[in-house]
């Protein structure tokens, strides 16, 4: 019996530290999967995954205005997105952890989602080769936007890790605009495989049902967006698309978005249902009219703003009274289980 079958047999056993006991029973980490079989007939919407895992941290480090926590959990299956296609990434037998550098801007608590960091691990002797990884931008129900990839740590021991990250491709405003474009963080830690197995792990009775598990109560920001009623400005539309909630607002004063104070600013804020995580790396466009005149017809720019968080926006000369938001390409962020069937087929959202 391998871990997968054991977990399937264990069914609803919601036991923290279950994985630890598996080792005691002789289930070698190297030979078993870390995840029960996927639910059959997954809905094309956000759903409860088969299981939830906790996480641990190798430590935190700062560089200027940025902080990074180098967190990890069990190896995960996840889905890469190219266009509207998803491609499931399975766990390799040699994978020992899912490494997740979480980088945020300390003053605003915002996690820039559109950069791809690199993580280089090293052993002190420098002799043994340790893989370096470029974790993918991804979203999960417990963590929201983060970077992650499965990695094979060769053995127990003292490691150093260097995380480098560049924030080039999203427009940034306010305190974020003045922050540096790149950051580097150094970590020293002891890796113990047996410690991984003490990470909490539980399976879910309601796996496959519409819904999402609560975000982790973490020492790191989860980047949850403001609830719709708390968004600044005037709410122009409030629809759903591909199970994403898509509030659209107009705010006064487009100065901080690179336009005139007298202009207003149109912002679409697509987010996951339930947990309100931003959906980065989509191609979003808008056609907006005010009193019959077209005030915007084209792409919206992915922007990080201290008040609006990650959103897609454009300055407009007048506050629109009618708007249509289109998703020319869905969010290309990789997905953890429970998000991989949603946010792919995304029809337009219109003013009611």
């Amino acid at each position: 019996m391998n871990r997968r079958r054991f977990l399937a047999a264990a069914g609803a056993a919601s036991t923290a530290g279950l994985a630890g006991c598996l080792d005691a029973l002789g289930f070698g980490r190297q030979s078993s999967a870390y995840a029960p079989p996927l639910i059959e007939d997954r809905p094309n919407a956000v759903y409860y995954p088969t299981h939830v895992e906790g996480m641990k941290s190798f430590g935190m480090a700062t560089d200027g205005p940025y902080t990074c926590a180098l967190t990890y959990s069990y190896p995960h299956r996840f889905w890469l997105v190219t266009g509207t296609r998803t491609n499931k990434v399975t766990i390799r037998s040699e994978d020992s952890i899912h490494v997740m550098p979480v980088v945020w801007h300390e003053e605003t608590g915002i996690v820039p989602p559109a950069a791809n960091p690199s993580v280089e691990f090293a052993l002190p002797d420098g002799e043994e080769s340790v893989p370096s990884v470029s974790p993918w931008p991804m979203i999960s129900q417990p963590m929201g936007v983060h970077f992650g990839d499965n990695v094979a740590i060769p053995r127990n021991g003292d490691y150093t890790a260097t995380v480098t990250v560049a924030f080039g491709s999203s427009k940034r405003t306010g305190a974020l605009a003045d922050a540096p474009d790149s950051a580097a963080f150094e970590f020293e830690f002891t890796y113990l495989a047996e410690r991984v197995d003490t990470i909490p792990y539980r399976t879910l009775d309601n796996a496959g049902e519409h819904g999402a598990v609560e975000p982790h109560d973490m020492a790191v920001p989860t980047n949850q967006l403001a609830p719709e009623p708390d968004l600044p400005g005037t709410l122009l539309a409030s629809g759903t698309s591909g199970d994403a909630a898509v509030p659209v607002v107009a705010v006064d004063d487009a100065a901080r978005f690179g336009s005139r104070e007298s202009d207003s600013y149109l912002a679409a804020s697509p987010r996951t249902p339930y947990n309100r995580f931003p959906l980065p790396m989509a191609s979003v466009s808008a056609r907006a009219t005010a009193g019959g005149d077209v005030v915007h017809d084209g792409a919206l720019t992915a922007t990080l703003d201290p008040d609006l968080g990650y959103h897609y926006g454009a300055p407009v000369s007048e506050t629109p009274d009618s708007v249509t938001i289109s998703f020319d390409a869905p969010p290309q962020v990789a997905r953890h289980e429970g998000y991989e069937t949603a946010f792919l087929d995304m029809p337009p959202v219109r003013t009611n």
Binding site: L80, V81, T82, G83, T84, R85, N87, V89, R92, A114, A115, N116, S118, S129, P131, S132, V133, S134, W136, P137, D149, T164, V165, A166, F167, G168, S169, S170, K171, D181, S182, M281, A282, S283, A299, T301, A302, D328, A329, P330, P331, Q332, V333
Partner: protein, 406 residues
């Protein structure tokens, strides 16, 4: 398996000679027929069925420091020229013998307190916000290439003064004039990457056995390369020369082979339309003399509507009067025990390399679409630029320790 070229030295050469398939053709005694352009290799290389020049299979880059202080002496100049001429007599100038270029950095020309006359040769710098390369600042770089590893090793031993003959022809050394600051090696050609997959950065057994490069696809299509005329400096004392960029790039292909699908690899290397229509067979032999990216959408449109933009698709727009700006002579490497790429390119001005590389960054696509800074942005996700160097390859008549303003 580590190649003899990667190991280097007399014992590697001896092992190599034991296994060698036959005699290496020697050069001519009369060197006057050799081209003035050091970089004129195309006529001396083999071509494939589609007429693409096939880069030599084995490569060696020697980063060299001039041992003297200040400006070079005439006698050192003669030592260098004499050593190079002896190699030209020892080996036929071809992929079956030996091809080489000798180039010089801005750091070298600082000895004259000047930049090389009439040449765009800036100091190397980072060319993307997500890279932090070391700037290579040797005085000179010697690029040696051959289908025969023993030719590279024989030439190196002769230059270093460890041997006084190469390929049974008497040679002279430049020992005492140049010292070797770094030694970089590699290979390119059908089957070689698959033979050298026991390094980190590439999963064993993943590379197609027919592939000339680790990433599993052909490159160097005739239609995507500048001609030698296009990269040649046209006027001034260095007319007939070219500039050379040489960067070392670590490859992280675990994701490429173990996580991405074939569809994703074709979309990211070429364009999403190639992936959608199954236009690339195997390593891309069916593409002939071009990567056929004329059949791809323009990169901004693909990025907006398909969420991914291909590497070749981004490069297609970097042309002047229909011609690409750079001539690639790159090769893969196992240096440092990991999969890597020595990206060697020739162009008239370094600025043309920079322009090409900026297109590869796909910055507009990343800022205006679902494509990320590296995510779904060509092949940027899989590479880490470790070092960059810029050099001037003078014409052959000025290749030995040239003055900045001769």
């Amino acid at each position: 398996m580590k190649s003899a070229v990667a190991i280097g030295g007399a014992s590697a050469l001896a092992a190599c000679l034991d296994r060698s398939p036959g005699a290496i053709p020697t050069g001519a005694d009369d060197l006057s027929a050799l081209p003035e352009r050091q970089h004129a290799w195309n006529d001396a290389l083999a071509v494939d069925d589609a007429g693409n020049a096939l880069n030599a299979r084995h490569h060696l880059l020697l980063l060299l420091d001039y041992t003297g202080d200040g400006t070079p002496s005439q006698s050192d100049r003669e030592t260098v020229e004499s050593a190079l001429r002896s190699l030209e007599r020892a080996y036929e100038r071809s992929n079956e013998g030996l091809l080489f270029t000798l180039g010089y950095s801005r750091a070298y020309f600082d000895r004259f307190d000047a930049a090389p006359a009439g040449v765009d040769l800036p100091r190397p710098e980072a060319l993307a916000p997500f890279e932090d390369p070391d700037a290579d600042t040797p005085d000179a770089v010697l690029h040696l290439a051959s289908d025969r590893g023993d030719a590279l090793l024989g030439a190196e031993e002769a230059l270093r003064g460890n041997k006084s003959e190469a390929n049974d022809v008497e040679t002279t050394s430049w020992d005492g004039v140049f010292s070797v600051a770094d030694r970089r090696t590699g290979f390119v050609g059908d089957g070689l990457p698959a033979e050298h997959d026991d390094v980190s950065g590439v999963p064993e057994g993943a590379v197609d056995e027919d592939s000339p490069l680790y990433m599993g696809f052909k490159s160097g299509f005739r239609g995507a390369q500048a001609t030698e005329d296009r990269v040649t400096i046209e006027s001034g004392p260095f007319a007939g020369g070219a500039t050379q960029h040489a960067s070392y790039i670590e490859l992280n292909l675990d994701q490429w082979y173990e996580q991405d699908s074939r569809y994703q690899r074709v979309a990211k290397m070429f364009c999403p339309a190639h992936a959608e229509n199954d236009r690339v067979e195997g390593v891309g032999e069916n593409l002939g003399a071009s990567s056929a990216v004329g059949a791809c959408d323009d990169p901004e449109k693909a990025a907006r509507e398909q969420g991914v933009v291909g590497h070749s698709q981004k490069m297609e727009g970097v042309r002047e009067d229909g011609s690409p700006l750079i001539l690639r002579r790159d090769f893969d490497s196992t240096d440092g025990g990991r999969a890597g790429l020595h990206f060697v390119s020739l162009q008239r001005e370094i600025g043309e390399f920079v322009e090409t590389r900026e297109a590869m960054n796909g910055t507009d696509a990343a800022e205006n679409s679902a494509v990320g800074q590296r995510n779904n942005n060509g092949i940027l996700q899989y590479m880490n630029v470790v070092s960059r160097g810029n050099y001037l390859l003078p014409p052959r008549s000025r290749r030995a320790l040239p003055e900045a303003e001769p």
